[in-house]
């Protein structure tokens, strides 16, 4: 066991491969999460848009289809389509992965945010409108900040889900943490220990993030005891 660990982690500075892989994993996750928040906010606002007689606008229909299709198909397929078809001309794997996971995450963020917006008292919007602010102005200054705060735990959870999900990008050759395990096994002819090491690294990062997020949530909650 110790021998296996030595061979898979210490020997020939192989630990560097894991760390580099973890770096890529974190980069892709952070960038995809940022894209997901932006896309998700936009998709959510469009998705909730209605005409005066209560019908969906064109933008609303597009947002609905986006959210529905993304949530209704496997991430792996979305990634493969992005890699092989939509961005077949780009060989920048990080960029392709960020796009695929960002677009994927956006659909989930849109739904999380919708829940957040719906949990804000409608009186907040009414008060803003009664002062002469537009729906949009009130949304930005009053409703969205409260909505983000309400669904903050779910958004952090989405970040962790995203971090784990990026591991499937190793299938298209992204040199992330999972891919690092593959590479090591190719030179040691042993797969279990590298996978175990990669899993442990994912687990530690996620554990640390969870603890940080919990602290953050608690601080947020303490700031509005009612």
């Amino acid at each position: 066991m110790a021998d296996l660990f030595y061979k898979s982690f210490i020997k020939a500075n192989r630990w560097q491969m894991y760390l580099q892989g973890l770096g890529i994993t974190m980069w892709v996750t952070v960038l995809a999460a940022a894209l997901g928040i932006a896309l998700g906010t936009l998709a959510c606002l469009f998705n909730m848009q209605r005409t005066k007689d209560g019908r969906r606008t064109i933008g609303s229909m597009i947002a609905y289809v986006y959210i529905d299709v993304i949530r209704g198909t496997p991430t792996m397929i979305q990634l493969l389509i992005m890699w092989n078809v939509i961005m077949a001309s780009s060989r920048n794997k990080i960029f392709v992965a960020v796009m695929a996971f960002g677009i994927n995450s956006g659909a989930y963020v849109a739904e999380i945010l919708r829940g957040g917006i719906q949990s804000v008292d409608p009186g907040q919007m009414e008060a803003g409108r009664s002062l002469g602010m537009t729906r949009w102005e009130t949304m930005i200054s009053v409703v969205l900040p409260q909505a983000f705060k309400n669904c903050f735990p779910s958004l952090l959870n989405e970040f962790i889900t995203l971090l784990k999900e990026t591991s499937i990008a190793s299938a298209v050759g992204l040199r992330d943490l999972t891919h690092a395990a593959d590479l090591v096994s190719a030179s040691t002819y042993e797969i279990f220990m590298p996978l175990l090491i990669a899993a442990l690294m994912y687990y530690i990062v996620i554990k640390v993030l969870s603890i940080l997020f919990n602290k953050l949530e608690r601080r947020l909650r303490e700031s509005d005891i009612r």
């Binding site: 008292d121 008060a127 002469g132 102005e137 009053v142 009612r226």
Partner: protein, 251 residues
């Protein structure tokens, strides 16, 4: 009172044939009314009679099904009218205060005038402090709404509306959600506002307030105005049978 000599002016608010349906439910069945500058109108009636709906139709928080609402020479419910400009001239105070939970008291009061570029941030803050002094809450400028009592929140909500320099203030049961010991502090602010000449339309169950402040008290029942009289007459000699019944239950 002032109502006698303001009667000759054109009304500030003019309501004609106002109807509002919620699906099959005909809440307002045709209301005509004129409100003149400086008048204080109090609306009473059983719950569900449409008095809040009437108030909310005045600044289009509810869209009237039929009829017209005029503020000065602008038709409020004309689709071509910029409703946001109208609402800047009409303050609304809600039963549940609806202070912005994510903003401080100062942020609550100054958000709209600064966002809408009516005042600079400094002007808005200076005026906000004056208003806060008037309601004796200047030390709460940096507090958040959830740190204040209901009565304090409602006084802040009144400040938030007054910050916009409205032509008329609408009050939708401003004391109904308050603990009894906090009703007085809010009514005091409203009374003071009335004495300073603000045009006010109030939906309230506070009959003592109506007697003291109102120029006219209106009884709405079954979606129409059943009685409209000065407070003395309204409470002492109600003509409408439903109003007599209503008053006997609440007084």
């Amino acid at each position: 009172m002032t109502s006698a000599n303001t009667q000759q002016d054109t009304p500030l608010l003019r309501v004609r044939g106002l109807k509002k349906d919620f699906d099959e439910n005909h809440v307002l069945r045709g209301i005509d009314y004129d409100i003149y500058k400086g008048q204080k109108i109090v609306l009473v009636g059983p719950s569900g009679c449409g008095k809040s709906t009437f108030l909310r139709c005045l600044d289009m928080l509810e869209t009237p099904t039929a009829g017209e609402v005029w503020l000065g020479d602008t038709m409020v419910n004309d689709p071509k009218t910029d409703i946001n400009k109208i609402r800047q001239r009409m303050g609304m105070v809600f039963q549940h205060f609806n202070l912005f939970n994510n903003l401080t008291i100062m942020g609550n009061i100054t958000l709209a005038p600064v966002k809408l570029k009516i005042m600079t941030k400094e002007e808005a803050q200076e005026k906000a402090l004056q208003l806060l002094r008037r309601v004796k809450l200047e030390d709460k400028a940096d507090a958040y709404p959830h740190q204040l009592s209901g009565g304090q929140q409602q006084r802040i909500a009144i400040c938030r509306s007054l910050e916009m320099n409205p032509d008329v203030m609408l009050f939708d049961e401003p004391t109904s959600a308050l603990d009894p010991e906090m009703v007085g502090e809010v009514l005091d602010v409203m009374t003071e506002l009335a004495e300073q000449g603000m045009t006010m339309v109030c939906v309230t169950h506070e009959m003592a307030f109506a007697k003291k402040v109102a120029n006219r008290v209106i009884f709405i029942d079954e979606g129409v105005i059943k009685e409209d009289a000065p407070p003395d007459e309204f409470f002492a000699h109600p003509k409408n049978a439903r109003l007599q019944d209503f008053l006997s239950k609440i007084l």
